[in-house]
């Protein structure tokens, strides 16, 4: 007959169970690390292509095209991870994550139209990065700790793009949407299950 487990082992096991349940119940863990690495790679390619465009309209079209590709990759990998870790996307913490994340994204879309109409091209990279970062800071309150940290880094790069010379804009986008996605995607993939 197997000997009973010592009490302190059972106590540790119970505490571990409570912590894991609270983590799963309180945070949205389906942010896809590998998906972010893929998105970051496409953003680096987009930055190289966008830098060669002769008109601001073509530069904008390049980045909007990259955003659509990123949305498709990010969406697909997130759904896959959500199924894998059994973390519902549209209920509980997932719902709160999206509500917090999508509000700055909607503002970003609206400001893009306004800045495009006013031909204030140089403000676009900083605005996108700042609002994307804001989305991760606010939504990240319902996710694992690294997500709001990533949002904060996007905001810092966004501030540099907004306050620096216009020539920095495209390369700040490369550093943010490319570099930060790859770095933080790697951290998330390694520490938080893919």
């Amino acid at each position: 007959m197997a000997s009973p487990r010592p009490l302190h082992d059972r106590a540790l096991d119970n505490l571990r169970y409570i912590r894991q349940t609270m983590e799963r119940a309180g945070s949205f863990t389906a942010v896809p690390g590998w998906g972010q690495i893929a998105v970051g790679t496409t953003a680096l390619a987009a930055a190289l292509v966008a830098a060669r465009q002769r008109t601001p309209e073509l530069w904008l079209a390049t980045w909007l095209g990259a955003a659509i590709v990123a949305l498709a990759i990010g969406g697909w990998t997130m759904v896959r991870k959500a199924y894998a870790v059994d973390d519902p996307i549209l209920s509980g913490p997932g719902r709160r994550f999206w509500l917090s994340f999508l509000a700055p994204m909607a503002v970003g879309g609206l400001l893009t139209v306004v800045l495009y109409r006013a031909s204030v091209w140089h403000a676009l990279p900083g605005t996108w990065l700042l609002l994307y970062g804001t989305g991760f800071v606010t939504g990240g309150a319902f996710s694992v700790r690294v997500v709001p940290v990533m949002g904060l880094c996007f905001m810092i790069v966004g501030a540099a793009a907004l306050l620096g010379p216009p020539a920095w804009g495209n390369w700040c986008l490369a550093a943010g949407f490319g570099g930060l996605h790859i770095v933080f995607g790697g951290i998330i993939a390694r520490r938080y299950g893919g």
């Binding site: 010592p6 106590a11 119970n14 505490l15 169970y17 409570i18 119940a25 309180g26 059994d86 913490p93």
Partner: protein, 121 residues
């Protein structure tokens, strides 16, 4: 036995380990010691409210199991249950009460005390 006037000698058994004494000192809350009930209380501690289906998915349990354990916690007034309709679909929502939160805190203290006691011992 007392009637016979004989004083019963204490049995020569080894005293329980220190951690075990610590565990016995404070009465363990059996109600939330059970895994599913502990899971329900823990999950509700970090959420304002969770629906029946959210809890079921989170704890990977069956409808019957969850409802039995949730009812026990409800009877102890550790959680409250409210039923409503989202359109035509019935929705059951659970919330942790102040008593439930206190019970979880006591349970956590108890487990930590047990671990501390065994480490010191």
């Amino acid at each position: 036995m007392a009637k016979s006037g004989a004083v019963r000698k204490p049995e020569a058994v080894a005293p329980p380990p220190r951690g075990e004494r610590a565990l016995r000192a404070a009465e363990l809350d059996r109600l939330i010691h059970e895994r599913v009930r502990l899971g329900i209380v823990s999950a509700l501690a970090v959420n304002d409210a969770l629906t029946f289906n959210e809890l079921k998915a989170l704890l990977k349990t069956t409808d019957g199991n969850l409802s039995v354990h949730a009812r026990k916690l409800e009877e102890a007034q550790y959680i409250t249950c409210s039923k409503s309709f989202a359109g035509r679909i019935p929705k059951t929502e659970y919330r942790l009460t102040a008593a439930g939160r206190r019970a979880l805190e006591r349970y956590l203290d108890h487990m930590e005390a047990l671990i501390r006691a065994t480490r010191q011992g």
